[in-house]
Every structure is written in C-alpha cells, then in structure tokens.
C-alpha cells in the first residue's frame, strides 16, 4: 500500500562491498577468464569468418579462432573487472552489455573456428533474420502479456492464445482462401481464449494462473481435436491457407546487413515491431496507458477517481488476445501449415520474455530477441556440427528466466495488483 511511513532522516543502508553491480562484475570476470582460457584452448587456428550476407561470399569480418576467443574473453573479463572496481551507475548497463556480447563473441570464435573446413563461417544476415523470425511469436505473445498484466490480470494463457490464433488463421484462411480473412479470424481466435480468461478471472474470480493453465490445455484439446477431425481428413480444404508474401521496403532494404535481414520481411515482422512502438507510447504517454497502469498497480485508487476498473480490464485482456492471435497467425499465414500443438511452448517463452523484459514493451522486445538469438544459434551450431548439444542451447531462455526471477540478473517487479481480482468495497 501507499502509506508506508518513512522517517525522512533514515538513510539507505550500505550493504557493504558486495553490491549487486559488484556481484555481476565478479561473475562476468569469471566468465571472461573462463572464456579466454577454455574457449581459447578449444578454438583452432582456423579463421572464423562472419559474413555480411546469406552465404559464404561477400564482405566478411575475419579473425583467427584462437586469437579471437582469447581476445573477446579478455574483453569480457575486463568489463567484469571494471564493474568489480566500481563504475558509475549509469555506465552499468552499457559495460555489462559489452561484457556479455564479448563473451558470446568469444564463444562464437571458438565454435566457428572449430567447424569443419569450408563451413567455418557465420552468415550474419541469416542469423539476424532468423533471430527476428524466431522472436516474432515471442514478441506478439509478450505484448499480449504486457496488455494483460499491466491491467492486473496474469496471462499464463499466452500459449493457448497463440495456438488458437494459429489454428483459426489456418482454418478460415483456407476456407475463404484469403489471407486477410485468415488474419482477422486469427485475431478473433486469440481473443476468444482471452474472453474466457477475462470472464472467469474478472467475473467469476477464478484464480488467474489456474485459469490460464487450464485454458492452455483447453486450447490444445480443441485445436488438436478439430485438427484431427477436419484438417487431417481434408487437408486440401481446411489446411491450405494462403500465405503473406515478403514486402520489400524501398531504400531501407539496401542497408547492408540490416536491410536484407529486416526490410524484406513479411507483414508480421513489421506489425510486431510497430506494435511494440505503439503499445510503448500508448502505455506511457496516453490517458489509456495511465489508467491501465493505475488499475494494475492500485485498482482501488483508480476506482475512487472514477476509472472503471473492471471494464478497462475486460477491454485490455481482450485486446491482448487479439495481439496474441495475430502472433499465432505468424506461423500459419506465413510459414507452415497447422499441426497439432505447433506452438510447442513458445507461449511460455513469451511469458519469460515478458518477465525478463520487466513488463515493458521494449524490454519484452529485447528479451524476445535474446531468446530468438539463442534459438537461432542452436540451429546454426547444429548445422556446423558443433560439439555443444543443441538441447542445452534450447534450455538457455528458460534458465535465463529462472535466474532473472531469482533476482540474480536484477530484481524484477510485477505490477502490484497483478493476479489480484478486484472486488469493490
């Protein structure tokens, strides 16, 4: 509650030498040293090439494997050392970022240089594009989570919303042979799950986490059932949705690296990035955003000022479903036909991205990209025959999230009223 008595003479206590920044620095220093020694030892003398294209050819950054692994490892260690020595607070994020990127680069130098000859290159355009494509459902899902949870409704049902969106997009897109109908149907499908969540959580006060979990199972069941009954039997009619093509954006598409990776994408890519921007602005700059956040933090206060708490919650939760539904369509109206349980846990990584991104649209975007990169990296390393099992890379987003909520990567703080039903009086 807001009425915490704070004697204003009190000073914040000194937690001693080991501040959170210093701890992060120590960990980073250890990682950097480990990278320099271990990756350096494992890397070969072969060149590690990072090409600015989709293939082996074209302009490239080259570095000798061993040298690169040791160099970047030392950079990471230096960044860690700087944090340990104590840098000004505003530099913290930057230095930490540099350190982590250097660590990843050191790792890549080892991996790429250790690849068989002829495959010792990394096409950066592919990696960037793949990162964004794999991050797309996460972005939509996490935005759905932002809309829900900022109003105080926990959204564990992201998975179900994505799945329902993917399914109805495929079904109606196929029946009407029209991508736009499919897109609309996908949004409505996602909103349907949202509506159930809203009605049960807001009207019937069922615990939101429980309801979300059950709705996920419900969505898996319904889509699986209809898939087997309709799509499997008559795929021609029910599971051949047309797909959105790629739209090239003039001028921007010619920017090296970023151009081919980002500006020759499909509607979902543009829509996702646009939504991040729009929701960010709306949340922090508009009347709707102020009210939404107040309802998620202190609904009683909002109510006393004439904000219709429940109506706003209904509206936002349903909007969340629309967004997630479109995210589901980014599978079936762009790349794949519908298959059973095709979201395969991405909804939960989206939830992780939401938390990792601290309930903010831009934070969620960065987290989604990080997870997308991990995913893409796993594919890439598999392709070059890496010795790192892809399963362990696939675990990365989940492990990162556990570390985040455990406060080891900075404290995360959910909206205060998140998950609490609002009962007047």
């Amino acid at each position: 509650m807001s009425t915490i008595a704070v004697p204003d003479v009190a000073v914040t206590v000194d937690v001693g030498f080991w501040t959170r920044n210093r701890k992060a620095g120590a960990v980073l220093l250890a990682l950097g040293v480990l990278a320099a020694v271990l990756f350096g030892a494992l890397a070969t003398g072969q060149q590690a090439r990072f090409t600015l294209s989709e293939t082996e050819g074209g302009a490239a950054l080259e570095i000798t494997g061993t040298f690169g692994a040791i160099l970047f490892g030392l950079v990471a260690a230096a960044a860690g050392g700087a944090l340990l020595a104590g840098v000004p607070k505003r530099w913290f994020t930057l230095v930490l970022g540099v350190g982590l990127v250097a660590f990843v680069l050191s790792f890549l130098c080892w991996q790429v240089s250790a690849a068989p000859e002829g495959r010792n290159f990394m096409p950066l355009v592919n990696i960037v594009r793949g990162t964004f494509i794999l991050a797309l459902p996460l972005i939509f899902g996490a935005l759905s989570g932002v809309l829900c949870e900022r109003t105080g409704v926990v959204n564990v049902a992201i998975e179900g919303q994505l799945l329902m969106g993917a399914f109805s997009g495929a079904l109606f897109g196929s029946i009407y042979q029209n991508v736009w109908v499919g897109l609309l149907a996908a949004a409505v499908g996602g909103a349907l799950i949202s509506l159930l969540l809203a009605v049960f959580a807001i009207r019937y006060l069922v615990d939101q986490v429980i309801m979300g979990t059950v709705l996920n199972l419900f969505a898996v069941g319904v889509t699986g059932f209809l898939y087997e009954r309709l799509m499997q039997i008559n795929a021609e009619k029910y599971n051949t949705a047309p797909r959105f093509g790629n739209w090239e954006i003039p001028l921007l598409k010619d920017i090296p690296l970023i151009g081919p990776a980002l500006f020759r994408g499909n509607i979902f890519l543009y829509l996702g990035l646009l939504l991040v921007l729009v929701i960010h602005l709306a949340l922090f700059r508009t009347r709707w955003g102020l009210r939404t956040r107040s309802v998620g933090e202190h609904p009683t206060a909002a109510d006393t000022l004439g904000v219709r708490v429940l109506r706003l919650r209904y509206r936002n939760v349903i909007m969340a479903g629309l967004v997630a539904g479109v995210g589901g369509a980014s599978y079936t109206l762009a790349f794949y036909s519908f298959t059973k349980n095709m979201i395969g846990g991405k909804g939960f990584i989206a939830l992780a991205a939401l938390i990792f991104g601290r309930w903010s649209p831009t934070g969620a975007l960065l987290a989604a990209l990080f997870f997308g990169f991990a995913d893409q990296l796993a594919t890439y390393l598999g392709a070059i025959g890496s010795s790192i099992p892809s399963q362990f890379l696939a675990m990365l987003p989940y492990l990162a999230t556990i570390l985040a909520v455990a406060g080891l990567v900075g404290r995360v703080r959910a909206p205060a009223a998140d998950g609490k039903p609002y009962i007047k009086g």
């Binding site: 049960f200 009954r229 399963q391 556990i402 998950g419």
Partner: protein
Amino acid sequence: MTNPNPVSGSPDKEPATESQAAQNAVGNTDRAATTATAPKRPEGQPRPSLGRLFLDNLWAANTVTVTVLAVVLAMLVGAVLIIVSDPEVLATYSYITARPADAISSSWTVVSEAYANLFKGAIFDPQASGFTASLSPISETLTYTAPLVFTGLAVALAFRGGLFNIGAQGQATIGVILAAVAGFALPLPPVLHLLVALIAGAAGGAIWGFVPGILKARTGAHEVITTIMLNYVAVYFLAWIIIQPGVHSPTRADAISKPVESSAQLPRLLGSDLRVHSGILLAVLATWFTAWLLNRSTVGFELRAVGENPDAARTAGISVTKAYVLVMVISGALAGLGGSNMVLGSTANALTPEVVAQIGFDGILVALLGRLKPWGVLLAALLFGALQAGGNRMQSYSGISLELVTVLQALIVIFVAAPALVKAIFQLRAARAARLQTSLAKGW
C-alpha cells in the same frame, strides 16, 4: 467431500446422466428455496459474514452436484464439437428447416455412438465375453489412473502449502529418467531392483522440486515461473539423455532408450493379458500417506499454516523457508513416482521423448477437480483415467479424436472452478461470484 457418484455417473451415456442431474437439480432447488427463506434478501447481497457462510455451506453441500453438472456440461460442449466437426452431419443442418428430423437423428447417432464407446472403453462393454475382455476396460482405466493420482497429489499437496506447482510435468520427467536408468543400468535382484528404481524416480522428482522450493524460499522467485521454466529444461534434458551412449538403445535408430529390466517392473495384477499393475496400489498408498501427512502430522500442520498465511506462520515460529522447500521436495517426489509409473508399469518400458505424456499437466486438473483433498484427488484421477481409457476406444471405434478427452477434462475443471456459472446455466440460483477453494489469488 467428493463421493463416488461423479465417477460412476460421468462417463455414463447422456440420458442417464441428465436424469441424474435433473434429480440433483430438483434436490438443489429445494435446498436453495429453504435456505433462501432464512436471510431476508436472497437476491441482494447478504451481509458479508453471513453471505460467506451461506456460500460456503452451499459449496460444501454441492460438491457432488457441481461436479456432476460440470461433467454433463462438458459433454454437451463435446457433443457440439463432435457435430460441427463431422461434415456429413453438418450437411444435414443445411436443410434443417425442411427436415429437422434428419439433423437431429444424425447428430444423435454420431454423438451417442461416440459416448457409448467412451463408456465401453472405460467401464464395461456389455457385448464383451470372457474374463479378460470384460475386465479390460476397468484394467485400462486403472492403468491410466495410477500416474494421475501421483501427479494430482503432487499438485494438491503443493497447493495446500501455498505453492502452485505447475512443474509436476518436469518433476515427472526427471523422475522417469532416473527410474528408467536405474531400471536398465543396475544389475539387481527382482524386488530390490524395483524398489531402487522407484526410489530413484522419487529422488529425481524431489531434486526437480527442490530447486523452485529453495528459490522461492531464499529469493522469492515465483514458483509458477520457475516450475514452468524447469518443465522445459527437463524436456530438453530428456531429449538429450536418450541419445547418449549407454542410454540409447543400441538396436534402434530412433530416439528410444534401452528397455527397463523385468526385475524392475511393477508386477501386473490380473495376469499378463491385462495391463493393470501394482502402480494403482502404490497410488492408493500414496493417497493415504498424503492424507495422513496433511491432516495428522505436525509437518502437515506447518505446511497448511504456511499455505494459508505465511506471515502468521512465521510469527508463530514456523520456518516458512523449511516449509516451502519441504513441500516442494515431497510434491516433486510424488510427481517423480508418477513419472516412474510410466516406465516401470505397463504403459512403456523405455524412455522416449513422449514417455511421460501429459501426466504433469493433467495432474493440475486432477488436483483442482479433487478440491485439493487427497481422497478427492484419487476419485478425480479415476474419472480422468476412465476418460482416457474410454477415449482410446472412442478413437479407434468411432474415429473421434482422442483430443476430445483433453477438451472434456479442461472443460470439466473450468466449470467446476466457477460453480456460479454452472448454477447460472442450470438456473439453480442467481449466478453469484464464488471462489475456487484455494486461497491462491496472488500475483507473481
């Protein structure tokens, strides 16, 4: 308290269930009417304390009614799904104004046949002759029930300790890995081997439960998040370990491990033709143990106190840290045993990526349907086991996808979770907000 009614009543054919529901409905309106005369304004909001009491009584008295009605409603929705997903039946609806009988009769045929098969597969097939054939449905039901009891108990126990353990799936996964490895890698004599394999499975689940428990207690990390994430970590770990040398079956190319030795398998109860095995006996034992632990032990007192009000528990000297860790370890061990059932029983005898199926997630539904009470969980698991067994037959005989069972299960729990909705639909009394019987309305 749940009683056996919903179980025997639910997988029944529709007419029977409906009449039963009607009976209940009548009884209930009577009760509602008599109670309604007591407070002055039955429609308005009675004073909180009184209203609360009134509601609690109604809820307690109506557990069975609500469950039965929820099953009926779920099956009705299921029937609609069956109809709309059948193009031939749907075609008859295009001329329903002209010949309504066609639409009705064709719908009736397809739905009744599906549910009849569900019943025959789960409980009894009147056409079956001979010992094995007539007992086969029950045997199948019990086979599916056993692991669900364990995971259901795992989730319910954690709930009572104030934690929502979505991670039963992951705990079962780690459990199944350790149980299987112990089952094929250790050269031990029969009884001992089984025992060691079961302990290994329980230990695996316990380790996977310990992590979110200690994180919650030490750092406040929300268990819903950590357990969800650990589920996936477990999935990938399983996928990795299956293909490791020493684990991977040398004779197979696909992802499957070596088979568990017969000395480590749970003995079958009714001969080798019927799949039911002693896992179900262990499940009953586990239910008894959980009930004792919760209600008759000092540990259970601590868990429940922490679950209902951690601040008061702490003030009274109960260690919340210890309680959280303990409840997650025990919960994980139960889920791990559930996982072990999947590889030491008759369902499978080797690790595959899908070896634990959905038992962890189904366990959440089972726990909720069982109202978080151990014996209630047992009955709920029985219902779900029956639906699974019946669903198999429905799939092979009527061609209705097994996924319908998932839909039914989710719907039953949704309806049970909001008794007010069930009542509103059946017009038993004005819909009114009622909570699921967990005090777990909290955020991350």
